[in-house]
């Protein structure tokens, strides 16, 4: 039996890029997938997944719209009987130099933050009750290695203040969400990765993109493409993460380094300290409720806050 059979996963922004890779991989693992995007081609992605035999629900809507999110979550639960996994992947990247005119700054704030932060909050809030009745679940926020600068200098690009801020802001949802949902066996983690070969990244190297001087009509040249990570490898890491059972972590994925979970960053210690602090009861988290989950790895790393 496939590892995720009987489970339902929502993947936002799944028309292309990482979202599509996540959806396809989760479907390959046996999950029914509910995928959405503002781009209508998400329907074709859904059809190709269905052709391989998986349960699929596709939605074309703007994730920043509350009513649409509510409808999609309700439809997903009704169609598949519950929700176990949410991958908050949809995001916009915009060049927002600090020298921009005031009116553009105002528009950019809403355009970037409504999708990259507010919609993540909305979707997470909407699925939590469904996961609670299922007795557990996983929320994975898709961040960037900008929030884990220790391995890569030059991050937090100076001309994308809002994109950068939006991804830093996700730490608040990952950290506190992991703690609030731990008693319900719901894990909240983030994948914080570097350059990955997707349409979003390639577009930067095409005419009009900020790195157009390095690329051409087809995007980046081969030597730059070779430095990008493969979305399929990130999707493998996502599956590893779901099997692992850790929570409250930003998993760093740096181009040029092995794509691996690495040792747990002592989330249990972070939880315990936090529990002492707030006077909340402790709960042992244990392995995830999936059938063939491995025993949790003993905490190996030193207790350094993930996001310091």
């Amino acid at each position: 039996m496939a590892y995720l059979s009987g489970k339902t996963a929502i993947v936002t922004g799944a028309a292309q890029g990482l979202g599509r890779a996540f959806a396809e991989r989760l479907a390959d693992e046996g999950a029914a997938v509910a995928i959405c995007d503002i781009r209508p081609d998400v329907v074709a992605v859904g059809e190709s997944i269905a052709a391989r035999g998986g349960g699929v629900l596709s939605g074309v809507f703007n994730i920043a719209r509350r009513a649409a999110c509510e409808g999609f979550v309700a439809d997903t639960a009704a169609r598949f009987g519950g929700i176990d996994i949410l991958i908050n992947n949809a995001a916009v990247w915009r060049s927002t130099p600090v020298t921009d005119p005031w009116e553009k700054a105002l528009e950019d704030f809403d355009a970037v933050i409504d999708v990259n932060v507010r919609a993540v909050m909305m979707m997470s809030r909407l699925v939590a009750p469904h996961m609670i009745v299922r007795g557990g679940g996983d929320i994975v926020n898709i961040s960037t290695d900008y929030v884990l600068p220790k391995r890569r200098e030059g991050v937090n690009a100076p001309d994308t203040d809002l994109y950068n801020a939006s991804k830093w802001a996700l730490n608040g949802l990952t950290d506190a969400g992991a703690q609030a949902l731990a008693p319900h066996n719901i894990r909240v983690n983030a994948l914080a990765m570097g350059p990955t070969d997707t349409e979003m990244l390639r577009a930067l190297f095409k005419p009009g993109g900020k790195l157009a001087h390095l690329g051409g009509p087809d995007g980046p040249p081969a030597e730059i493409l070779a430095t990008f990570m493969d979305p399929a490898d990130i999707a493998q890491l996502l599956v590893d993460l779901l099997k692992d059972g850790r929570t409250g972590e930003n998993i760093g994925v740096w181009a040029g380094y092995p794509i691996e979970l690495g040792p747990r960053k002592r989330w249990d210690v972070r939880m315990r300290e936090r529990a002492d602090f707030t006077g909340q009861p402790l709960r042992d988290f244990g392995p995830p409720p999936w059938t063939d989950a491995p025993e949790p790895v003993e905490h190996l790393a030193v207790g350094k806050p993930t996001n310091a």
């Binding site: 802001a169 506190a176 300290e273």
Partner: protein, 267 residues
Amino acid sequence: MARLQGQVALVTGAAVGLGRQYAEALAREGCDVVVCDIRPEIVRVAEELVRLGVRAIGHVADVSKPADVRRVVDGALAEFGKIDILISNAGVWRGGDAKDPLDKSLQDYDVLIGTNMKGVFLFGRAVIPVMTAAGGGHIINIATDHVHTHPGRPTAGGSAMDLYDVSKWGVLGLTLTWAKALAPHNIRVNSFSMGATDSHMLRGFHNNAPSEADVASWMKPEAVCDLAIQLIGEGHTGRTGENIGVWVGFEIELKPVPAAKPVPVAA
């Protein structure tokens, strides 16, 4: 001896709490001060600042409203012709967690992200062109120790402040990015990540009747303000892009700027 004589400082959320203290500290150092707050008593605060021998203007303004932000910044320029220092301090707190109903969370989101993050964004973006044209400036954004904890404490303000934390992580992202973007323009951007400090907000958590022991355990606003003055006083060659931890039980001080780290080479 005034250390910042002749400079113009803008402090948001300065009617009560830490903001008011920053404004007074800056005035004592000789700054002309522009203050704003949603509380109408901000007008009286400005009058009191004038008694310290500087010029001051108070605006009733909501930092989350673009038109209000423009009015404050344009008013400051009309009156003083420049802005050298910005302390984006206005902030609100609300509890809430991942199990909250969406209705409540969206209301909290509007207030918390609107004030704490959008307010910082708007004031920064309004003031940056002014500072760039003048050839330099200092911005201090106020975060919280939830995003930069003292050693041994995990990040986050527990399980039940997620949207407050979201807003303050966002502030950190803006700080780090602006520091990088503005270094060539002589504009320094840092943030304070502080723990419990005696303020209107903190007293409110204790039903406005904190015990003596509570108050004694908090940091004193004067110490935090003095840190801000020292930070600004470092001048154009001072640190930038630092999220400065200000923690209960630790020395309240500016650490020496660490030497530039060698760029790690990919394995």
